[in-house]
């Protein structure tokens, strides 16, 4: 028994007092502080991005309230609960996705949500953001690592079904995030590098196939405009040109709070949702953008640490996947707004205006905190 094993098996009372308060609350103080910082900073930027719409900030604050509540509640559950309920939630989620497609077809158009009559609108794809990593982590960790080929195959199917259903909606951004979360589980579980390389090669070979048969026109257009936004400067290229101009014109220290001409004069589209980092970049400059990225880095590093310290394979895989997926959120959003990735609808996590994604993300962090604070019992 080495030292770490020994420490783990010590009774909780022997831990130092401050840590134990947080542990008893089942919260991770570093993660919590960083999340809160991003949330507060994000609402400050949102106030400017909506040109001083206090109502929007208020609604966003309510979402954060719900999100943090969900986080705290979820953190109280032992990770075992996720393991036990993961499969059920996954199955329900897939059924709901099918229901979305069916009702969408009836409504003669694309649809991403289900209307629960008299209650609320619900996006099953948000549920899957959590259900897929839980399901895959559970499935793969059952037989030990690295996974066998048969398990890989089943995992691939478990991943493919919801991703394919969400692409149909069509929601490229969400399906990308869910696919990443599943692939990260498989990667972290120890998929051999040999297989990774051959899959990567196959994926590259698949690009023409995707281009011709799978991608919709608007998706192709997004990719084309990435390579040259000036192809269609008033259409698809407009967003990206304006956001790059907004960020670039911010300079080192920015134009000042509420003083960004690109955002305040409405040149920047979607300035309070997907493109909100352009507002930050314009008004707070390079320094402001780097501070936000640094906060994200703290969250990610903390998440990775929690993953490494996870008590078993399931916890480690789930925590790792959630953390890496969060990084993908950040990277894809900042990458697309700054013009190095195509515009796929991925919000800037915890900053972009919008309900479900904040709650989902914070619920995910609740799982991380549960993993972090429920060590061996």
């Amino acid at each position: 028994m080495n030292f770490t094993e020994y420490v783990r098996q010590l009774p909780q009372g022997s831990m130092d007092r401050r840590q134990s308060i947080w542990t008893r609350l089942h919260l991770d103080p570093y993660l919590f502080a960083a999340l809160l910082a991003v949330a507060v900073g994000g609402m400050v930027v949102l106030y400017s991005a909506t040109s001083g719409d206090l109502g929007a900030v208020y609604r966003q604050a309510i979402r954060f309230g719900i999100g943090f509540m969900a986080m705290i509640i979820v953190a109280q559950f032992d990770p075992r609960w996720f393991q036990q309920w993961g499969g059920t939630v996954y199955l329900v989620g897939v059924l709901l996705l099918v229901a979305v497609i069916v009702s969408g077809a009836q409504a003669m158009g694309a649809q991403r949500w289900l209307q629960i009559p008299g209650l609320f609108r619900f996006q099953p794809s948000e549920l899957m953001k959590l259900a897929v990593p839980v399901m895959l982590s559970w499935y793969i960790s059952r037989y030990g690592l690295p996974p066998r080929y048969r398990d890989l195959l089943v995992s691939a199917v478990l991943l493919f079904v919801p991703v394919a259903l969400i692409i149909q909606q069509p929601d490229l951004g969400t399906s990308l995030l869910i696919a990443s979360s599943g692939l990260f589980v498989i990667f972290l579980a120890g998929l051999s590098w040999k297989l990774i390389v051959s899959f990567a090669t196959m994926a590259i070979a698949m690009i023409p196939v995707l281009w011709i048969w799978v991608m919709r026109d608007y998706q192709r257009q997004r990719v084309l405009t990435l390579f040259d936004p000036n192809v269609d400067p008033l259409g698809a290229g407009w967003n990206i040109i304006q956001s790059m101009t907004a960020i670039g014109s911010g300079g080192l220290t920015g134009k000042g709070y509420m003083l960004g001409t690109q955002s305040q004069l409405d040149f920047l589209p979607e300035s309070h949702t997907d493109f909100i980092i352009a507002v930050l970049g314009e008004e707070f400059g390079f320094i402001g953008a780097v501070i936000l990225i640094a906060l994200y880095a703290v969250i990610i590093l903390r998440g990775m640490l929690i993953a490494i310290r996870g008590r078993d394979n399931f916890c480690r895989l789930l925590a790792g996947s959630l953390t890496l997926t969060f990084f993908i959120y950040v990277f894809v959003n900042v990458g697309m707004v700054s013009g190095i990735l195509p515009v796929v609808g991925v919000p800037l996590p915890l900053v972009s205006y919008g309900g479900t994604s904040i709650v989902t993300l914070l619920t995910g962090f609740g799982m991380l905190m549960s993993i972090s604070t429920h060590q061996r019992n």
């Binding site: 008033l234 790059m244 014109s249 040149f267 480690r316």
Partner: protein, 615 residues
Amino acid sequence: MLNSSLDNREKERRLFLSRMTASFIFIAILILALVGRLFYLQVVQNERHEARSQTNRLEVLPIPPIRGLIYDRYGELLARNEPSHTLSVVVERSGDLDALVQELGALVDLSEDQVSRFFDRVRGYRRPFEPIPLKVRLTEEEVARVSANRIFLEGVQVDAELIRQYPFGEEFAHALGFVGRINQEELRDLDVGAYAGTRFIGKEGVERQYEDALLGEPGFQRVETNARGRIIRVIEKQAPKPGSNLHLYLDQELQKMAYDLLGDQRGSIVAIEPETGGILAMVSNPGFDPNLYVSGFPTEIYNALRDSPDNPFLNRAIRGQYPAASTIKPFLGLAGVDQGFVTWDYTINDRGYYQLPTDDRIYNDWKRGGHGRVNLRKAVAESCDTYFYQLAYDMKLEAIHDIYDQFGFGKNTTADIYNPFTGINPSREWKQNRHGFSWYAGDTINLSIGQGYMLATPMQLAIATSVLANRGRWVTPRLLMHSNDESLLDSIPEPPPDVHLNNDSNWDRMHAAMQDVVQGARGTARASGLGATYEYAGKSGTAQVIRIERDENGDPIGDVPEQFRDHAWFMGFAPLENPQIAVAVLVENGGSGSGVAGPMTRSLFDFYLTRELEQ
């Protein structure tokens, strides 16, 4: 067992740790890439994006100048600017154009024509973000309806602008010309800066001739706009310089009189003030409503005008070329007598025809049986062809060509008439070049009665009459009297050299002969001269379109189809002493010059002179 299980767990932990390490490296690289990208945009390329964001929000908007006004000689406004509301669409800012136009159609009355022209303009060459007009001259109700629905109509704007309006419409259509929308061809050639914000350009007539002066200079305002082009604030403003106002010699009342006199007959009337060379009236009939060019011609009206056999777009005053016929005789006679080919007392015995000494060919006088004993004065008064056949034969072509040239035939002598035809004053070289034949003596004979190769425009005949009235003194014929841009008058060219006679009394004697035409006992147009309270001079002309059967008075026998009837000419000036007005009247296929054009001339003189007396 326990050991191997522990070993296994340890292996799994190591595997996971190595994967996390790989992920960490991966994430670190990508985060650095993001930070690097931001650094590149915000620090390295900052200036470029800064400039771009400035041009984004700052827009330089042209303020079109107010087009110069055009007045007649008494200050009557002939071309003015009228506020008009124009409905236009910025295509770049609107969504589905078809749906939008349909929506607009529910709010304002749109003709199929307006819609199809709008789409032509959308598809054609245009400046980006330039509003494309859909309808001009909205009614107040339509303006209100569009404004009320403004928020639902992306990219739609209603602008108040000044557009050209011609209060006298058709009467001045050919004299003033008109402005129209700048077309693609013009857009290629014009100075884009000078026309910033301006959508109209002078197309014909005075509007075209004085385009540069009338246009003015655009002003600019630097404004901050938002992404939808709405102006947030004006940062800097430079007022436009309005175009110069033009005061023309044209006399609105006289012009109207001339227009009314022509009635529904095709023809032209030009009146000139001999003292100044100022063009008092310039009518071509039929005309068209120039205001339609400004607002956009409805296609069916335009097509009807374009296809009309009456050719209403032809400015007959300066681009209608006709044989001058007998109106040329005073000029020829003047040269003949002054250069000694004949004297005032010299007579011939006219038996109704003339035969060249070298040729069997017979040249008939218009009057069968002839005029008997004829001197120059009688030859002018009665328009004796035979007398002038003889004179022309004696003078030869060169002398005739020369005197016609001195009076301005065969060339443009006007200062500011846009795009006139020059008519033809034939010469030996001209015929050789044009027809490939040498000059025959018979051609000279035809020239003596203004037929054959000779062609003149009503403007040219009016000018020549004015010079004749002026006793040979040339003043450059012009429309422009004065302007607040004084440099415009400096660009009036020098007139041709004055016509000098060896004996100045020949002017008076020719004037007297021309007075006989209208006020003599046997003058061809004595009927039109009856009862005049002033002395005046004139000369009729009847230009053959084709050879037709005539009676002994030269009148056609039987019914002649209209297009073969003679063109009726009359030229004259009044009063005899100190002439104030010189006129040329042409009525296409009008028949007899003395019978049709003579009375019109008299009416113009009566009106002009008596009205002048009242003032």
